[in-house]
Amino acid sequence: MRRDIYQAIADPTRRAILTLLTVGTMTPNAIAGHFGSSRQAVSKHIQILAECGAVDQTHSGREIYYQLNMEKMKEIDYWMAAFRKMWEDRFDQLDKVLNDL
């Protein structure tokens, strides 16, 4: 299945994991400790986040650490910028309408 960054943030648990990772790198166990759901369920979410490119993993000894991929997360900003532009342009048009009223 093709993954993209929007699938990463489409699920509330995955958004919570991403929020946790803004503080620092974490092991899967440490991440799972923050959720009431099973380790398998959390592990599946982490796997999807990795497939989406939202997180990167590094190995240190026997442990795996996950960290946010900020570059990938910025794609969302670029995408949202188009909406910002749309509202700006729209309101500039509204300025003209109000001027002529």
């Binding site: 929020t19 949202m80 909406f83 700006e88 342009d89 048009q93 300025d95 309408v97 109000l98 009223l101």
Partner: protein, 135 residues
């Protein structure tokens, strides 16, 4: 000699809250509240500003009452129409408008219910406040 300086800043704010799937937009207009309200509620005026250029907005029906529908099309320069169905869910004159809408084929008669719609539904809670400035 004194000049009146036209205020060019409009305090535009565009904040996204991805976790809550929300966009918060704030904008100031250099016009009295009555005119701003009219521009958001009169279809002839709405058509002049809601569509992103070079698209134009064309109203099919407009019923600006609670539960009423604004059915309009975004029309491309080639005449291609993207219909929008917007339902007014709350209106407080000169203060606030809430609407929920979606893109549609121009023939829909109601909004989808339940959780299974395909994510095209959007809500627009709008609040208007007036600030009078003195020179």
């Amino acid at each position: 000699m004194t000049y009146k300086l036209k205020i060019l800043t409009n305090n535009f704010v565009f904040e996204t809250d991805l976790a809550a799937k929300k966009i918060h937009v704030v904008r100031e207009f250099n016009a009295p509240l009555e005119k701003v309200w009219k521009a958001w509620t009169d279809p002839d005026l709405l058509e002049k500003w809601v569509a992103p250029k070079p698209w134009k907005a064309a109203t099919k029906t407009m019923d600006f009452t609670v539960g009423g529908i604004w059915l309009y099309a975004m029309v491309s320069p080639e005449g291609q129409k993207h219909w929008v169905y917007a339902k007014f869910t709350a209106i407080e004159k000169d203060v606030a408008i809430s609407s929920t809408g979606m893109f549609c084929d121009g023939t829909v008669t109601r909004l989808p219910t339940g959780q299974n719609h395909t994510g095209i539904l959007h809500s627009h809670p709008l609040t208007v406040t007036e600030q009078r400035s003195t020179w």
